[in-house]
């Protein structure tokens, strides 16, 4: 239990998807103009990460990794399908996003209207695929660990985009040199936020 809490806190603050690995930057910069839309996208990312990462974990563990297919037939014991992981992971992400979109549309039209436009965007958000690839590279051992990591990194991403959106709303009233306005100052602000997040480094529970 303790290592799960540790992993959770670590994936939110220390190994923040945005500030430590720059994942999901494109939508992070494009959709952070107002707090309201940023919150919507943040929630959508948490949701999709928590759904896709455990699915990808199970596929990785029981189909893709070296010798994983041994449960099917002992002669598959030395089969290694790792090279297929990119295409399988992205196919899972794209189809789950499609599925989630249809389910949300059917059962909660109001949520669909607020998330609707972001859901297709999320299929190509690097944070989602990145989560699955990190899960594979770091070799998380249990389903619990994979899910905790998904939840933590999703919350970390949402936290980052909401706080950037809040800063950008205030930035509108500042007198910034003309060539730096918009994109330029946003990059610098994200850099400064990154420095702030580095103070969490080395924290262990």
């Amino acid at each position: 239990m303790q290592d799960l809490v540790n992993l959770f806190v670590k994936s939110i603050f220390v190994e923040n998807m945005v500030f430590a690995y720059f994942l999901g930057m494109c939508s992070f910069l494009a959709v952070s103009k107002s707090v309201k839309t940023a919150t919507g996208l943040g929630i959508a990312v948490i949701f999709v990460l928590v759904v896709t990462l455990p699915v990808n974990y199970l596929i990785y563990k029981y189909v893709l990794t070296a010798g994983a297919l041994a449960w099917l037939d002992p002669s598959f014991a030395d089969l290694d399908l790792n090279f297929l992981s990119f295409i399988i992971f992205i196919a899972v992400v794209a189809s789950i996003v499609q599925l989630v979109e249809m389910i949300v549309e059917k059962f909660s039209p109001s949520l669909y209207n607020s998330l609707g436009i972001f859901l297709p965007l999320i299929a190509v958000n690097c944070a989602i695929l990145g989560g699955s690839l990190f899960m594979q590279e770091r070799g998380y051992e249990t389903l619990g660990q994979a899910t905790t990591y998904a939840l933590g990194s999703g919350i970390g991403w949402a936290l980052a985009i909401v706080s950037l959106a809040a800063i950008r709303e205030k930035l509108k009233y500042s007198n910034i040199p003309a060539p730096l306005r918009g994109l330029g100052i946003t990059f610098i602000v994200v850099g400064l936020m990154g420095i702030a997040f580095m103070s969490f480094m080395g924290i262990k529970l």
């Binding site: 690995y21 196919a91 690839l133 040199p177 994109l183 610098i188 850099g191």
Partner: protein, 206 residues
């Protein structure tokens, strides 16, 4: 052929500093020149050929499932690049870690397919893809040059700042450790955008 297809993505419509596409991987791999150059090459190749292939089959893809078809084509090319890197440049492929896989979701590739390859002939699409990859690579190499020079005092792994300058050897110089940290990349991109926009007024945002 129109020269504009090739020139524009490099400066006026640079994917990173103007269109804000493909930032995700651009920042993480630029602490050293070598991985940055490998990454730039891989992205250029994948962007060029995925645009080319999608453009070849653009009239047969059903509109509703086009995103998945595009992802499959891109993922296939990325798997090829990844396998080649693991075979011939294992060290670099380890340094790039998950970022090779993340080329699949690099927004430049999907962006160029959606915006250009779906409506144009294969050869211009190939040129457009390669040019965008090149514009991306240019920023990557510029960033990596600054970060490696000031962060480690080396270029492409070769010591450029004389060892006798360092304060451990009785000199006056210290490497700037901040340069190899993640936030430095973001601030440097901000500065590059600032410089570019000071020279091209039409890019300034209101």
């Amino acid at each position: 052929m129109d020269k504009k297809i090739f020139i524009e993505p490099i400066f006026l419509k640079n994917p990173i500093t103007v269109l804000v596409l493909g930032i995700c991987s651009a920042l993480a791999v630029t602490t050293k020149l070598e991985p940055a150059i490998v990454m730039a090459l891989s992205v250029t190749i994948v962007t060029g050929f995925s645009s080319f292939i999608i453009s070849l089959i653009r009239n047969t893809i059903p509109n509703r499932i086009r995103i998945i078809v595009q992802l499959v084509v891109v993922a296939m090319l990325v798997i090829l690049v990844d396998q080649i890197l693991q075979a011939y440049a294992y060290e670099v492929s380890k340094q790039l870690s998950v970022f090779v896989g993340l080329i699949i979701t690099n927004c430049i590739i999907m962006g160029r397919i959606e915006a250009y390859a779906l409506g144009n002939k294969p050869i211009p699409s190939l040129v457009d893809g390669l040019a965008n990859g090149f514009g991306y690579g240019l920023i990557l190499v510029a960033l990596a040059f600054v970060r490696e020079l000031f962060g480690s005092g080396t270029l492409y792994g070769i010591q450029v700042i004389p060892l006798s300058w360092y304060s451990v050897n009785g000199g006056f110089y210290e490497n700037n450790g901040f340069m190899i940290l993640p936030p430095a990349a973001l601030i440097l991109v901000g500065l590059i955008i600032w410089i570019q926009r000071s020279f091209t007024k039409e890019l300034i945002e209101k």
